[in-house]
């Protein structure tokens, strides 16, 4: 019974710390105006969103996907094509990209969810490779050449901010906050418990009457939607995309690495993972420059092996000493 009292005590802290962190992130651009720092932060937010999105399907529902870049790419391509060819507003394009990704997720998920554990992993990897091959050879989306987005007048409505990076900073932070809140609510909801049951024991879940395929489709749809809108923002921010940027398997794996490094199956783990891995990969690349080819990758890889060996539940466990 003592667990209950500990739980109550934690609850206040659990809200206070994230709230203070959010507050400091909101005011941060007032103090730091360095463009490169802001760029790194925008990348952190985008990767935190995709890692948290992966977390819904992978961390909570236990379906490890190595193909999530397909949703990211479909989001990026949908909003970009709509903007370039049909002058559709990027915000609308972002929503439509999310919907396209959900449709793709259901088309892929419906057959692939029959597969278990490692067969599922390899199937998502194969599906991602197929989608990438399609985009590489699809003339309508300019194949391997990629798409250049038109530069429009600065406005929030048009999701264009060419003079400073604050716009994308706050868009990224806002979306991340919404997603983290949703995932938190999910963990407290009946749906979240269904997801966890499927992760723990799928056969048992099915035997007590949970329609596991339907719930897995719900999970992959949520994952796909948020991954896709992050893809749209990414495209709108960089104003250029090609299949090698938004579709490769290495990107799909990166999403997983970030989530697992921080702590899969926890609300804040993937966010923590992004805050650690993305600055390391961005900064080491700049710091060592062209001379130290491979050093960034070495650091990154060694950290991942180290965490996998000694902190298998992710770095978030460092902050959870009063649990267990």
């Amino acid at each position: 019974m003592k667990t209950i009292s500990i739980d109550n005590e934690n609850k206040r802290n659990n809200f206070l710390i994230p709230f203070l962190l959010l507050l400091s992130l909101i005011v941060l651009p007032l103090f730091i105006k360095h463009a490169y720092f802001m760029h790194v932060m925008i990348m952190v937010f985008i990767y935190a969103i995709v890692a948290e999105a992966w977390n819904i399907l992978g961390g909570y529902t236990g379906q490890i996907s190595l193909g999530n870049a397909m949703f990211f790419g479909v989001g990026a391509y949908t909003s970009s094509i709509l903007l370039i060819n049909f002058k559709v507003n990027p915000w609308l394009g972002l929503m439509l990209g999310g919907i396209c990704a959900v449709i793709l997720a259901i088309l892929v998920g419906f057959p692939v969810f029959r597969l278990r554990s490692h067969y599922f992993v390899i199937a998502t990897l194969a599906a991602g490779e197929i989608i990438m091959a399609v985009f590489l050879n699809w003339n309508y989306v300019k194949g391997a050449t990629g798409l250049e987005l038109p530069l429009m007048e600065d406005s929030l409505k048009g999701m264009t901010f060419s003079y400073n990076k604050n716009g994308f900073y706050y868009i990224g932070l806002g979306m991340l906050t919404i997603l983290v809140t949703l995932v938190y609510l999910l963990t407290k909801s009946k749906l979240g418990y269904y997801f966890k049951t499927i992760k723990e024991d799928e056969d048992a879940a099915r035997s007590i009457g949970i329609n596991t395929t339907a719930y897995k489709l719900v999970a992959i749809s949520m994952t796909a939607f948020f991954t896709a809108i992050a893809g749209s923002v990414y495209a709108q921010y960089l104003l250029y995309i090609d299949p090698a940027m938004v579709f490769p398997t290495s990107l799909s794996v990166k999403f997983v690495l970030i989530a697992a490094l921080g702590g899969a199956g926890t609300v804040f783990g993937p966010v923590l993972g992004a805050f650690i891995l993305i600055p390391i990969s961005e900064m080491t690349r700049v710091f060592f420059g062209g001379g130290g080819q491979g050093i960034d990758l070495l650091f990154y890889g060694a950290l991942i092996v180290f965490v996998a060996l000694f902190k298998p539940d992710g770095l978030i466990t460092l902050f959870q000493k009063n649990n267990k």
Partner: protein, 287 residues
Amino acid sequence: MNLEIIIQAIISGLSIGFVYALVSLGLTLIWGTMEIINFAHGDFLMLSMYGSFWFFTLFGIDPLISLPLVFLISFIFGVLVYKGVIKTILNRQMLSQVLATYGLGMVFQALALFFWSPNYRLIRGNFLKGTFRLGNISIGIPQFVTSVICIVAILALFYFLDKTKIGRAIKATTLNKDAAALVGINIEFIFTLVLGLGIALVGMAGSLLSNFYYIYPQVGALFGTLAYVVVAIGGFGSVQGALMGGLLLGLITSLTGVLINPAFKYAAAFLVYLIVVLIKPTGLKGW
């Protein structure tokens, strides 16, 4: 589209298929005994290709001669990786195993990039080169010799697994770890041996590939991905499955390249994989 082109595609498909099979056999053995997908598998292939390259460049040893050396070094390297990394993650969740092995692969790639630069390298002036003709069909000599050595290696492996005491102990461990331990099989020894053997097999494949394939730090990515699909198509843990899967993928990639469009040769292989596992979710020979 005449018959000769198709026969030509089938021959080159089978010859690369044997290489896929050899790469995948190590992966499926490791999975079968330890239930770990080695996501660094392709990077072991890359390292062994560099190994053959440096034996040739620094000491003038032909890849064909250094083959046993690369095999042996890969074996020892595999044993070290087992002791250093794999042993710790044996009973962890799949996600943590993916993380550890993928991270290991990244470290290998980073080291290759750092020491040997991202440049593409090719072994030139080695013993195996040129082509020979059978009627109107031309066959590359390096590819042909590679296939022959692959077939011999695969037969030797099957013989080892079926007829020797240690081989049967490996098979028993694949079927049931606990029962194998009960009848007195030293599981720890089997795991060490299988990881060494698995990496030695992929090392052998890399050594053979280095006779005719470009060598660069990311060369393992494509072969690794294909090997996962080969193993899954054949059924995780099944050696016959890996052989069938390797040849099947070799044929599909080659025939798609010739008959449809080279840009879709790998996508076609992945598509066939999805179709196979949707019909039989545990692969051709899996359980």
